[in-house]
């Protein structure tokens, strides 16, 4: 679309990678258990390219939200580097960090918890504008109204409180707030998961339209793989604090290399009775193990249908390496095998 060309070009366009996550760890110590910690993010390396939507999937508790909070610098890392537009944000603090945050916004999961109940919608959307001293008071108000119009809400609703809106409308308010300062990168942490199906479709369409219109880069986190496949260009699969596979959105479905990806994809029902009759899900044993004391070697080996245990799988940790298609990485000693 030609609109995309007119979009503001804020930074050096030459670097195709907007965000780089390098061997990042986040351990939450458990109080009173000297040394024990929840290894929520346990050595993640990722790249997000300018203008793409990277989908991040995995079962609940695998560390997706923690990674999102590390990337947006809402949490400090335990170790590792996060580089955004060439600058290492893991080292930033105070005003410099706040300046950086302007280019990087977040849309949250819970439309009921992510808006301050004691502030009007106008104040909520205007807050980032105030923080960054953008425009005059009058201009800010106009911008708030345009933002409301953009996300499909009545621009005269600025004096209302969040509790007067439905879930879908609140999520739109959250999106308007994220867009207020013209960010280049937006993290959506389960931004549609709490919404009813039809509302979910409204928000997904809106996110797609906005991406096209403003040339945004998304990190789109969800546990619903169908939604992720619909919205993302590339997909990363997480298991117990680690990325186990990344690939283009069609490659990952057509040629999954990691047994976990394959199981995850096969367990999703499809709204088509004929396909469903033929579908044979790979049922994983049990549930995701504790992140305090992850299994040795490949941490999927306790549930993996093709694990060689005892053997290499429980002894040696597989690295995230190229397998399968171009641009596809998987962390499995027997990648591609069934």
């Amino acid at each position: 679309m030609q609109a995309a060309e007119k979009a503001p070009v804020t930074a050096v366009v030459s670097d195709p990678v907007i965000l780089r996550v390098e061997d990042v760890y986040k351990h939450f110590p458990i109080a009173g258990f000297g040394g024990l910690a929840v290894r929520a993010v346990d050595g993640v390396t990722l790249e997000i390219r300018r203008g793409e939507a990277l989908g991040l999937v995995g079962e609940s508790g695998c560390g997706k939200s923690t990674l999102a909070r590390l990337i947006t610098a809402l949490l400090p890392v335990t170790s590792g580097k996060i580089i955004f537009e060439g600058q290492e944000i893991t080292k930033m603090r105070g005003a410099r960090l706040r300046r950086m945050r302007r280019k990087m916004q977040m849309i949250f999961q819970d439309p009921f918890a992510s808006l301050d109940p004691r502030m009007t919608v106008g104040d909520i959307i205007q807050e980032p504008l105030d923080n960054y001293g953008i425009g005059s008071g009058r201009e800010r108000q106009r911008r708030v109204q345009e933002l409301l119009r953009l996300v499909g809400l009545n621009p005269n609703f600025t004096n209302r409180y969040p509790h007067e809106f439905s879930g879908g409308q609140r999520q739109r308010i959250g999106i308007a707030r994220a867009l207020a300062v013209n960010p280049s990168f937006i993290v959506c942490d389960e931004a549609v998961s709490a919404l009813d199906v039809s509302i979910q479709a409204q928000i997904i369409n809106l996110l797609q339209d906005l991406q096209r219109e403003f040339n945004l880069t998304y990190l789109f986190i969800a546990h619903d793989l169908a939604v992720v496949r619909h919205l993302s260009d590339r997909i990363a699969v997480m298991y117990l604090g680690k990325v186990v596979e990344t690939a283009g959105r069609n490659d990952i479905y057509d040629h999954p290399q990691h047994p976990y990806t394959r199981a995850l994809l096969s367990s999703i029902p499809v709204p088509d009775p004929e396909v469903e009759r033929a579908r044979a899900p790979i049922l994983l044993k049990g549930e995701i193990p504790s992140a305090v004391n992850p299994p040795s070697g490949c941490r999927f080996h306790t549930r993996c249908p093709i694990a060689r245990v005892p053997g290499i799988c429980s002894e040696q940790e597989p690295l995230l390496e190229p397998h399968g298609q171009r641009d596809q990485l998987a962390a499995c000693h027997f990648a591609g095998e069934k």
């Binding site: 302007r102 990087m104 992510s114 808006l115 301050d116 502030m119 879930g167």
Partner: protein, 304 residues
Amino acid sequence: MALAQPALEQAVDWEVAEQQIGLWQDAWHRFRGNRLAVLGAVVIVFLILVAFLSPLLVHLGIIVSPTTQQVENIEVGPGQAGHLFGTDELGRDTLSRLMFGSRISLSVGILVQGIILPIGLAIGLAAGYFGGRIDNLLMRFTDIWYAFPDLIFVLVLVSVFGPNLLSIFGAIALVGWVGLARLVRGQVLAIKEKEYIEAARSSGSPPLKLILKHLLPNALGPIIVTVVFGIPSAIFLEAVLSFLGVGIQPPTPTWGQMVFDGYEAIYANPSSVVFPALSIGFTLLAFSFVGDGLRDALDPRMKR
């Protein structure tokens, strides 16, 4: 999740007539709907008026001065010799002493909260917001403070600094701030984890703004309630102090002291105990009702 709401987001028009009610307005509606709370508020307003106006009434000669001793009318019963509530063992008018007593009792209640509020807020906010070592330090400090029995603490302070108004206010405030600080800290800890705080942080709000614009307003409900409930307990504590003989010294009347003085003659002249005791009781009830009403009114989950 929400059940179906009235269709706010209609197909054709977005302008939907949903009544526009702010949170505080909403709270006010709920408060007004609570009869006991309104009654309590009326009683409190009445008491405050009495406290302010009693010197004027003496000046106008409508009531006698609380210190005037009428030797000819010692321990008369209610309604006798022009004393509506009777007199005490020195022949002083009980009604007048009650009215003047409300000045001390109410100001103990209210001013003490005025001292507690900034201390409790500052310590609670700092501990809760910054967490880590600051929190540990402040909370150990409050724990030690808390471990001390309130009454002994007050007694010690008052006996050291003498039973004057200031030391009594100060002593009561010093035992009171701990509870508030803990409450504020708890609130802040809970609210800090809310997504809207994270959202404000990622919108670039600096710490001071986070505290003042987001944390404080959202913690305010329980804080107001605690402060309101703190008023009767301060009144009560002052009464206990007077009862133990270390409160405000005579002849300045306070309700607690009146109970104490009258207690010795409880059979001979019950009215000089009953009226101040009732005053304390009703005031406590009135503040409690208001506190309850505020708690419900400030909880947005409570529907009208």
